[in-house]
């Protein structure tokens, strides 16, 4: 069993992956936001989950006009910290990101849901079948994209 970290040790640990990040902020005492580009998301997630290690909570997919974002939320329970990694996907035409399910099976379903509703191609996913949309839902229509909602 690993020793619990204190706040400084957690921050030191997180700073080891700094060169893959594009930003980091802490708006609240126990809330940390890290950002990175989609190409580095796999590596940063693997670091957060296996090296820190943090507990994976959930991921969120967002369509924010100029790009897509996937937010990976992690918790560090001994300190009640929530660490969110924002991965930016700049290519709106063919959005894609590396799957984290190969080393983190709990992310499998949320990645399938993000694939269904936002149409982000999750590369190297073990089982990218339809999860939340109806069986007769047309291919290529992504209900949570902003252009669909106009």
């Amino acid at each position: 069993m690993e020793q619990d970290m204190n706040e400084q040790e957690l921050k030191n640990k997180l700073s080891q992956i700094e060169d893959k990040l594009t930003g980091s902020e802490q708006p609240l005492k126990n809330r940390i936001y890290l950002s990175c580009e989609s190409e580095n998301a796999y590596e940063v997630n693997k670091f957060l989950f296996e090296q820190v290690p943090l507990r994976f909570v959930i991921a969120t997919g967002i369509d924010s006009d100029s790009c897509f974002e996937i937010l990976y939320h992690y918790a560090y329970d001994p300190l009640s910290y929530v660490v969110t990694l924002k991965a930016f996907i700049r290519d709106r035409e063919n959005p894609s990101i590396q799957s984290i399910a190969p080393f983190l099976p709990a992310a499998e379903w949320i990645e399938r849901e993000i694939h269904d509703t936002l149409g982000i191609d999750i590369k190297n996913h073990p089982n990218l079948r339809r999860l939340v949309l109806a069986d007769d839902w047309p291919e290529g229509v992504y209900p949570l994209r902003k252009e669909e909602r106009k």
Partner: protein, 136 residues
């Protein structure tokens, strides 16, 4: 229809809150089985359907299939704000309702009773059942 209505419960995309209240009907506080209202496991045994949820695109064909298999005459109770008129999910991309419109297209003579609420109290459901059965 005046004696002991047997009911079948259909969830068409509800958040489970109405469903819990339906189960609450059977617990000792309300205990609707003393009034002859019995939850059954097959629509073919039912006199009434208790429908919850907005009627999603995936669930609507199943609901219609259940309705076709229910012996007529049967009463369809729409339980909760979502079933009565899609509620806060109006214009949701995945909704195929409102349920009453779709049921009327399937069977223009469908007998539909509405029990609104989010979720409706068990007392409201009992009152709805009594009112519906006494008007038939």
């Amino acid at each position: 229809m005046k004696k002991s209505p047997w009911v079948f419960h259909v969830n068409t995309g509800a958040c489970n809150n109405c469903d819990i209240e339906i189960v609450d009907l059977l617990t000792p506080r309300c205990d609707v089985e003393r009034l002859g209202v019995k939850l059954v496991g097959s629509p073919r045994h039912a006199d009434a359907l208790l429908v919850t949820g907005i009627g999603t695109r995936q669930a609507m064909p199943r609901l219609l299939e259940v309705y076709r298999q229910t012996p007529k005459p049967c009463v369809v109770f729409l339980i909760g704000a979502c079933a009565c008129g899609t509620g806060i999910f109006k214009d949701a991309y995945h909704g195929a309702g409102p349920i009453d419109n779709v049921l009327k297209q399937e069977d223009p003579n469908a007998i539909i009773a509405y029990v609104p609420g989010c979720p409706p109290k068990p007392e409201a459901m009992i009152s709805g059942v009594v009112k519906a059965l006494s008007t038939l």
